[in-house]
Amino acid sequence: MDKEKLITPGPSGYMPTPGAFMGVELPPPGKALLYGEIVDEETAMREAAKAMLTRRNPTIFPGPLVLWGWNAGAMEKAKAVLELAMEIPNCRIIPMPDYRPKYPKIDPEAEINPNHPNLTILHNKIEACIFVGVHCHYANLSLRMIRAGTNCFTIALCAEMGHEDAMVSLRDVHAEEIRKFKDVLVQVRKELGIEWEPKLPPENPSLPKEDWTKISPLDFGEYAALLMPRKGEVVEESE
């Protein structure tokens, strides 16, 4: 294994040795982790930006600390995440709204679950991703699982001390730091000669295309009884 790169994109096999056991230490304030080594924040940001700009299907996985507007800081951070997403070409947002297990299975195009994050990553062929707003214990679980079974380049934007099992881990990341990362990403994008007009990623595919709340069976008069759809049924054409 490359001595400089302890933590690299996988698949590194079932139950890989945790970064901490391989001697990776969390970075001090002002520093970051790049492939398990402590480096300057700027260097780590540039490498992360390059991964998001050059690898296939770059995706942001926002966690509950960003998705739910539980305080002003969370809402500001959410705004910054959207600004970042706009600058990454063909970026997608796949949320992790909570950590509960889902029966029978999650919809891998609509969400990611920390108990089996590989399902979402493999289904969508994601090769670079950003974790932001995920509680540390679940981020650790997911990051190691992703390294075990996928070739995804993981970037952890952590509000605390960072994560050993991510290829790039920034610490103390709040709205301001996300915007700083965005500026670095835009700069790297220009250096790479990638042209991109900022735009928001596509919306969640699980959301209904029509506003069902405005439809009432009464709208269909005497035919209402014939038009009650079964659960999950969408009638697209009718005579």
């Binding site: 926002p62 739910w68 709204p97 509960r100 297990p101 919809d107 969640n204 709340t213």
Partner: protein
């Protein structure tokens, strides 16, 4: 939790899965729903991996619909069938080690009252007969002796259903089970009397045949626990697999047991009675005023 936790960050509404958008829009957070409206709002627990015909699954469904403040509730469970559905609900769930649910709940309730002194946070333990009356017996009793202010609900399927059908303290005397071929030698533990003696301020025994009654009992137990002390509900939730009850006869079995040894029983202290009557009187008045409007 809290209502602020069920508000999607601005801008992210179109990136959330439909399930969560529906929970916020059509769910029961911040509202008081009638259990008879089940199916007309987005429920806190929907899909779960419990057996077909499981009466515990039905009880848990009604339990979530009956919560007075789901956004300020934490549910604790332990090994056993119930946790399969509890862990999948949109309410924070803590999995205690087998038997220590009431000890964890004690610490949690105290911590919540220190962390959120101005807010009411409900803690509810839902565990089986093994978790509360066998392996967790000591922890359960001592939480009641200490007068901890949370609700304990025992979903009694009268067997260790997850591990192949061993007898539990709550199995009826003489019953033969797969892993108890000689038949149980002792009587069923009288959990309700134990709870009364140990210091619970509200105690109920119920065979869940009437959803309105289940909801009322759960609500009363949670409201009483907020102010006065431990509350306990003993609910019969048959295991149709280990007791070989055909799925279509599960409700009939619950009704039969209700007539036999699971007659509805409710007991509360005088001060709890006064408190609950006052709350229910105000709610009725409010409902009447809304109808008049």
């Amino acid at each position: 939790m809290g209502l602020e936790y069920v508000k999607i960050s601005p801008g992210f509404e179109k990136y959330m899965p439909r399930d969560y958008v529906d929970l916020v829009t059509f769910g029961q957070f911040g509202k008081q729903v009638d259990v008879m409206q089940l199916g007309q709002f987005k429920e806190l627990v929907e899909e779960h991996p419990m057996c077909a015909g499981c009466y515990m699954a039905y009880f848990i469904r009604v339990f979530y619909a009956a919560l007075p403040n789901p956004e300020d509730t934490i549910v604790l469970g332990t090994a056993g069938c119930a946790r399969l559905a509890l862990s999948q609900a949109a309410v924070p769930f803590i999995y205690g080690n087998y038997g220590d649910t009431n000890a964890v709940a004690s610490g949690l309730k105290r911590a919540l009252s220190i962390r959120f002194p101005d807010k009411v946070k409900d803690v509810v333990v839902i565990a089986g007969d093994g978790g509360l009356m066998d392996i967790g017996f000591g922890m359960t009793m001592h939480s009641w002796f200490r007068r901890e202010k949370f609700t304990t609900i025992m979903v009694d399927n009268e067997v260790y259903g997850n591990t192949g059908g061993q007898e539990s303290g709550m199995s009826p005397k003489g019953i033969q089970l797969k892993m108890a071929p000689k038949g149980k030698q002792f009587d069923k533990i009288n959990a309700v009397e134990l709870a009364q003696t140990a210091g619970c301020v509200y105690v109920a025994r119920i065979s869940p045949t009437n959803p309105k009654r289940i909801a009322k009992v759960i609500r009363r137990a949670i409201l009483a626990a907020r102010e006065f002390g431990p509350t306990f509900i003993h609910a019969y939730t048959s295991c149709n697999i280990e007791y070989s009850i055909p799925t279509r006869e599960v409700l009939a079995d619950a009704r039969a047991r209700e007539k036999k040894d699971f007659k509805f029983y409710e007991w509360m202290t005088d001060e709890v009675k006064e408190y609950l009557e006052e709350i229910e009187r105000k709610e009725k008045e409010k409902a009447k005023q809304e109808v008049q409007k």
